[in-house]
Structures are given as structure tokens and as C-alpha cells.
């Protein structure tokens, strides 16, 4: 169920592509933080969608979801995060393969990490800088967890 009450079957890759484009296109710190919040939320949902697929990857997906929550919480603490609602929608079980999910998560982690590290340079506000640094760290963990 989405915030507006919609249920839709989403293509994970399309979702991550959309959020990746938003992250790349974000021109201001508030835009970047809002996109990062949504990106972490998508990463969390993707990880939850994958954690029961293979016993060998249970811990990897669980830990990735945890890192995504860490990142989202860090972004939430940034004063520059604008008010508003997430655009991330609830995901129905996807037909995407495990490898596709892990690749998408790894790529999203890298992009988030880079953009949030860049965001640190955009502001002099200590709370924003701390939030971006903590979120970048969480994104980096997602990348490492999902990289073979």
C-alpha cells in the first residue's frame, strides 16, 4: 500500500532506475535529501523482498535492510530535509531474480554513497553534514553487503 493508498506491482529495476535518476538530478540539498530518503526506503523494501529467497543470503539481505533503515533515519535527522511524503510504494513480491535485486541494491548503494558524500560539501550546517555523512556510511554498507 502506498501512502496514497495505491497497490501496484512494480518493476524493481524500473523503480531503482527512477530513484537513481532523481538522485543524480537533485540540484539542491533538500532535493537530494528527499530523494535519498526515498532511495533508502526502496532499498529497504527490496532487501526485505529478498531475505527469504535463499538461506545463504538471509543474513546479507537482513543486514542490508538494517543499513537502509540506518540511512533513512540519518537522512530524517537532517534539518534540510523538506517536509513531505515519500514517493516510495509498497512492493508486491517481484519476479525479479535474486541476482538482479542484489545488483540493483549494490548500484543504489554506490550512488547514494557518492551523492551523500557530495552533499556533505554543500552545507555548512553541522547537523546536515553529520546526517549526510552517517547516511553515506549506511549507503556504503549497502554497497559492500550486496557486492559479490
Amino acid at each position: 500500500m502506498s501512502p496514497s493508498g495505491c497497490i501496484r506491482t512494480v518493476n524493481h529495476l524500473q523503480d531503482t532506475e527512477e530513484i537513481s535518476a532523481r538522485l543524480r538530478d537533485a540540484a539542491s540539498l533538500p532535493d537530494l535529501l528527499a530523494a535519498s530518503f526515498d532511495a533508502f526506503e526502496i532499498a529497504r523494501m527490496l532487501a526485505r523482498a529478498g531475505d527469504l529467497r535463499l538461506p545463504e543470503l538471509f543474513a546479507a539481505f537482513m543486514t542490508t535492510a538494517d543499513a537502509a533503515v540506518d540511512g533513512r533515519e540519518a537522512v530524517t535527522a537532517a534539518p534540510a530535509l523538506p517536509a513531505g511524503s515519500t514517493t516510495a510504494c509498497a512492493l508486491t513480491p517481484s519476479a525479479a531474480g535474486t541476482e538482479e535485486i542484489t545488483a540493483a541494491l549494490a548500484a543504489l548503494g554506490t550512488l547514494l554513497s557518492d551523492r551523500l558524500a557530495y552533499a556533505v560539501t554543500l552545507t555548512a550546517e553541522p547537523a546536515d553534514r553529520d546526517a549526510c555523512a552517517a547516511a553515506a556510511d549506511a549507503a556504503s554498507r549497502i554497497h559492500h553487503l550486496m557486492t559479490p
Binding site: 500500500m1 523494501m45 537482513m62 517536509a83 550486496m146
Partner: protein
């Protein structure tokens, strides 16, 4: 590992045995020193008995008269105290002392150190059985079976010393000159004899169970062992040892105050979420390990009954991790808000160690970490090359499950407190767009926190069941962790006795708490379900929904009643100002219930809820 009581009790007995084995005549100087050291031994024994609570008052109804053993202990206490007073107990120089003196001196030292170890389980100034408890071992230490085992040991020492002391009175070089010494010795013998006889008689009446003796010897010092961070390439035995140490550290952490400072790193959603994650990974890996052991047991030709128990343990463990996953999913959404400058807690590092080592036990790669580059399952012959290795691995898994169950109860209680204090929030960005909330967090609805607590209750229940199955398995195969089951059984027996007698001094011990319901009458249905031992979240949630409806009806009725009465008398003002917590301050001007399109709080995760909980998604999504 921590020293145990047995590390002191056993050598004390050995030194006493060695001392009394000397049959010759002691030189004059040595004789005097031996009597002094005997005095120290008797004093140490008397102090042990002095620690025991006096026979309790039967009370007005006279329901619980002192037991035979309690009366025996009281008699022995008086007799030994007198004996200790008459003996001149002083420490002698033992470097060049006669062997008898040295042995008695060492025995007195060991006995005193053992008593000190027991005292570490009780807060300063507290006495076993009467003071505040400081460790999860305390209830077992003060239990009747362990007290009985301790008395039995003390009586044994007394019994061994009596004939030797009697011989000492007969072998003085100048009997007349040493008449005073002989008198003193006679009094000591009398005290020791009364002690031995009284306790032996009680023992005859009600023998000490052997498991209580084992438990007595296994009592560790009430201090967590130092952390041993996982190394690279640890062998199976090293992993098992590390898991045992980490589990012990977590058991100690479970005794931490259940209401830590509001912004303590231990009382945040991040800390609880990380713990739930570790519990899920550890339990999942434990299931894999138990399956592998089942295969190995069959391959090694271990008795089918044991193999079946292993299979049962794996099945029980398979019921645990989905619930821990569900708890972690609940924490995906819930939060205690923003906390600046909070560092991780020691328990967080222990949780990580536990998950990592158990994961490495389950997987083939010795440097396994929870990542996509993880490895395949560890081969059965590598996990347990020989029959004895099966019990070593079972013991490690047993320790992990036991620690998770204990600390989870504490976490559930702390989360319940946070929910009761309305310190659990939702990120407002996860709210529907129609909710215009200019703050990062908003108060979590009660249904959401109830669901979290119901999921905790289910996870704890599943872990407790798996631990009980492992208790039986460990006992069946003689695993080193057998003592955990004995401890649980005796501590539980002690808790029941205290509840029955109304003398429970362990009020600070964390216990599972039911999910909160509306206060007063409105919580009756949910409480009723808990009293019926119902832990199924779907049922609990339905009960909570009914209670909530009752609560709202009562609240509405109360408001109407107040409104009618307000013309006659003003409502009393709140006398105590509520703490100005940031997120609460942020939310105080907001509507109490944030509703989505269909009147329910919404979030973006449907997968987060466990199967049983999603069954009731009409009430909580």
C-alpha cells in the same frame, strides 16, 4: 572463562583432606599454628552458614514452618559461630610452616574466596537470600536445592575435621600445659560435630539432588568475561568457545537496569533493531547448524533417539528466526527519534559477535560475514569430525539460544516502557501526503506499538521453546551446556516458591511483559489471553483491538460525564508537568490519530509483518 565456585570448593576440600591425612605428632609451634588455622577454617564455615537466611517466620497463619534442613542449618550456625569464637583464628606465616598448617591455611583461603564469589551475585551489603540480586544466578544460588548442596559440602568438611581435631587433643606434648588449648579444641570439635550431624540428618531426610551439586560447583563470579572479538579463521572449537563467552556476556547485559536513561544508547530503536537483527541471524544460522548436526549424527551412527532430538531442536529453532525477522521488520518503521552523539553499546558489539560466530559455524568460509559474497553451508564432517564434537557444537548453540531468550525479555520490557511513555514514533515522511506534519516524527499509534510488543512476545516464546528443547538435548548427550537447563529448572522452581510464599525479592528481574492495552477495564481481554498463555499475535491483536474499542468507548463516556459535571466543579489540573521531550513537543500540537485514506495509519511496507500478523491487516497494516 570466569572462575566458578567449584574452583574454590574443590581445592578447599582437597587441602582439608591433605591436612587431616597427617597422622604424626605436630611439633609444638606447628600445633599452635594448626589450631589457629583450624580457627580460620571454622570461621569461614561459620560465615557461610551466617549468610543463610534464618528460618523464616511461619507468619500468623503458620503456613510455612521451617523445614528440617532450615532447622539443621540454624543449629549448625549457632554451633559453628561458638566454635569460631573460641578458636584463636589468625593467619600464620605459611612459607616455612608445617604442611598441615599450610594445607589448613590454603583451605581457609579457598573457602573465603568461594564465599566472596557467591557474594558477587548480590549487591553490596546484601546477603544471599535477603538482599537485592545482582545477577541471573542469584535466584538459583538462594534456591533450596543449591543451599542444600552447599550445606552438604560444609557438613562434609566439618565431618572430616572432627576426628583430626579430636586426635589433636590427644597428641599434645605437654597435656597439662596445654589444657586451655584442649578446651578450645573440644569446643571446636563440638561445633563441627553438631554441624556435621545436624546437616547429615537433614540430608538423610531429604537428599540433595546430584544436579544441585553440579549447579553449586558451576556458579561463576558475577562479572561478565572479557569480550573476545572474533578473529580470522577461528576453528570450530574456537567459534564454540567464543559463542559461549559472548552468550555469557549477553546474559550479564540482560541484568542491566530495565529502565535506562531515556536517551541511553541502550534505549533506542537503533539498539533494539540491531539486537533483533542479530537474534534473527543467530537463530537462522543455529537452525542450519542443527540440521547439519542431525545429518552428521546419522552418519556417525549416534543413537536414533539423539538424532531425533537434534532434528527436534532444528525444528524448534526454525520457529524462532521468522519471528525475530518480524521484530526487525517492525523496527523498520518505528523509531525512538533522533539521538545525537549516541554511540553503540557493549551489548551491541556482543550481538554482532554472536551473529558473526554463529554464522561462521554454519557456513563453510572461516571468514564468513553477512554479505552477498557469503559462502555455502559448512560440511557436516568439518562441523563435527567426531562424536564428541557434536556435543561441543550443541553446547554453543544452546548458549546462544539461552542468551537470546534472556536478553530479549529485557528488551521487550524496555520497549514496553518506551511505548508506555509514548517514546515510539513514525517518520512523518512515511505518512500519507494528506498529513501535513511539519516535524520529522510523529507519535506511533498504539496499534503499531501493540503489534511490535505482540511480535516480541511471539519471538520470545519461540526462542524459549527452542531453548527448552536444547536443554533436553544437552542433557541427553551430556553437552557442557547441560548446566543451563539445570539452572533454568532450579531458578524457575525458586521463583515459584517465592511467589507462593510472597517473598520474591527479585522484583528487578526482567520478565516477559504482555503487549500494552488500554488501562483499567479496557485491557481485560488482552490480559485474559496472556493469562491463558496465548502468544499468537493475530489473537492478541484482535484482543487489543477489542480492548481499544472498549477504551475509546470508556474515554468518550468519561468525557461526556466530565462535560456534564464541569458546570458544577472545575476539573483538577495536572500537577506534574510532562517532560519536554523533543519529539513529544513536536507532536503535541498535532492530531492524536494520523489517518490515511481509510482511516488507518499507513506505511509503505506490507512485507514487514509476519504471516500471522498480516492476517489481521484490517486492523493494523
Amino acid at each position: 572463562m570466569n572462575p566458578t565456585f567449584g574452583d574454590f570448593l574443590t581445592p578447599a576440600g582437597e587441602h582439608i583432606t591433605a591436612a587431616v591425612a597427617f597422622r604424626g605428632e605436630l611439633p609444638a609451634g606447628a600445633r599452635e599454628d594448626a589450631i589457629a588455622e583450624l580457627g580460620r577454617v571454622v570461621s569461614a564455615l561459620a560465615r557461610y552458614l551466617g549468610d543463610l537466611p534464618p528460618p523464616h517466620d511461619p507468619g500468623p497463619g503458620g503456613t510455612f514452618p521451617p523445614t528440617f534442613r532450615e532447622r539443621a542449618a540454624a543449629d549448625a550456625r549457632v554451633a559453628l559461630r561458638r566454635a569460631a569464637r573460641t578458636l584463636r583464628h589468625r593467619a600464620t606465616s605459611t612459607q616455612d610452616a608445617h604442611p598441615v598448617v599450610r594445607h589448613l591455611s590454603a583451605a581457609a583461603d579457598y573457602l573465603s574466596a568461594g564465599r566472596d564469589l557467591l557474594h558477587t551475585h548480590f549487591t553490596t551489603g546484601g546477603q544471599p537470600g535477603t538482599g537485592p540480586e545482582n545477577s541471573y544466578w542469584a535466584p538459583a544460588i538462594t534456591s533450596a536445592p543449591v543451599t542444600s548442596a552447599l550445606l552438604s559440602e560444609l557438613a562434609h568438611h566439618a565431618r572430616v575435621l572432627v576426628p583430626w581435631a579430636a586426635q589433636l587433643t590427644m597428641t599434645a606434648p605437654g597435656l597439662c600445659a596445654l589444657a586451655a588449648d584442649r578446651l578450645i579444641l573440644h569446643q571446636a570439635i563440638s561445633g563441627l560435630w553438631i554441624t556435621a550431624a545436624a546437616i547429615q540428618a537433614a540430608e538423610h531426610d531429604n537428599p540433595t539432588p546430584p544436579r544441585a551439586r553440579h549447579l553449586l560447583a558451576a556458579i561463576p563470579a558475577a562479572a561478565p568475561p572479557p569480550r573476545q572479538p572474533p578473529g580470522t579463521g577461528e576453528p570450530v572449537t574456537g567459534l564454540c568457545h567464543g559463542i559461549t563467552i559472548t552468550a555469557d556476556r549477553l546474559r550479564h547485559a540482560a541484568r542491566a537496569p530495565t529502565q535506562p536513561g531515556r536517551w541511553s544508547p541502550a534505549a533506542t530503536s537503533a539498539s533494539w533493531r540491531r539486537a533483533a537483527l542479530a537474534c534473527a541471524i543467530t537463530s537462522h544460522a543455529s537452525e542450519i547448524v542443527l540440521h547439519t548436526l542431525t545429518d552428521r549424527a546419522r552418519h556417525l551412527g549416534i543413537e536414533p533417539a539423539i538424532t531425533e532430538r537434534l532434528r527436534g531442536a532444528a525444528a524448534a529453532m526454525s520457529q524462532t528466526w521468522p519471528w525475530w525477522r518480524a521484530v526487525a521488520c517492525e523496527w523498520d518503521i518505528l523509531s525512538t527519534g533522533t539521538h545525537h552523539g549516541t554511540s553503540s553499546t557493549p551489548a551491541a558489539a556482543d550481538f554482532e559477535d554472536l551473529a558473526l560466530r554463529t554464522g561462521r559455524l554454519a557456513h563453510a568460509s572461516p571468514d564468513w560475514t553477512p554479505g552477498y559474497a557469503g559462502s555455502s553451508i559448512r560440511g557436516r564432517a568439518v562441523l563435527a569430525p567426531a562424536r564428541g564434537d557434536v556435543s561441543t557444537v550443541v553446547a554453543a548453540i544452546h548458549h546462544a539460544a539461552d542468551a537470546i531468550t534472556r536478553i530479549a525479555i529485557q528488551h521487550q520490557q524496555a520497549v514496553s516502557t518506551a511505548a508506555g511513555e509514548r517514546r515510539l514514533y513514525l517518520p512523518t515522511r512515511l505518512m500519507p501526503a494528506t498529513c501535513d506534519i511539519p516535524y520529522p516524527y510523529t507519535l506511533a499509534p498504539r496499534k503499531r506499538t501493540s503489534k511490535l510488543l505482540a511480535t516480541y512476545a511471539a519471538a520470545i516464546g519461540a526462542s524459549a521453546r527452542a531453548t527448552e528443547v536444547l536443554d533436553e538435548l544437552a542433557a541427553a548427550i551430556g553437552a557442557p551446556s547441560t548446566i543451563l537447563g539445570v539452572h533454568r529448572s532450579i531458578a524457575s522452581q525458586q521463583a515459584s516458591t517465592r511467589r507462593r510464599e510472597g517473598t520474591d525479592i527479585a522484583q528487578t528481574q526482567p520478565r516477559p511483559v504482555p503487549p500494552p492495552a488500554a488501562p483499567g477495564q479496557a485491557a481485560q481481554i488482552e490480559h485474559l489471553l496472556h493469562s491463558l498463555q496465548i502468544t499468537e499475535p493475530a489473537l492478541l491483536l484482535r484482543a487489543a483491538a477489542l480492548d481499544q474499542a472498549t477504551h475509546e468507548l470508556l474515554a468518550e463516556a468519561t468525557a461526556k460525564s466530565r462535560k456534564q459535571g464541569s458546570a458544577a466543579a472545575p476539573l483538577p489540573q495536572r500537577s506534574q508537568k510532562a517532560p519536554n521531550w523533543p519529539a513529544r513537543a513536536a507532536g503535541k500540537d498535532l492530531p492524536r490519530h494520523i489517518s490515511g485514506r481509510d482511516g488507518q495509519v499507513t506505511h509503505t511496507d506490507q512485507k514487514a509483518a509476519p504471516t500471522a500478523v498480516t492476517a489481521s491487516k484490517n486492523s493494523i497494516r
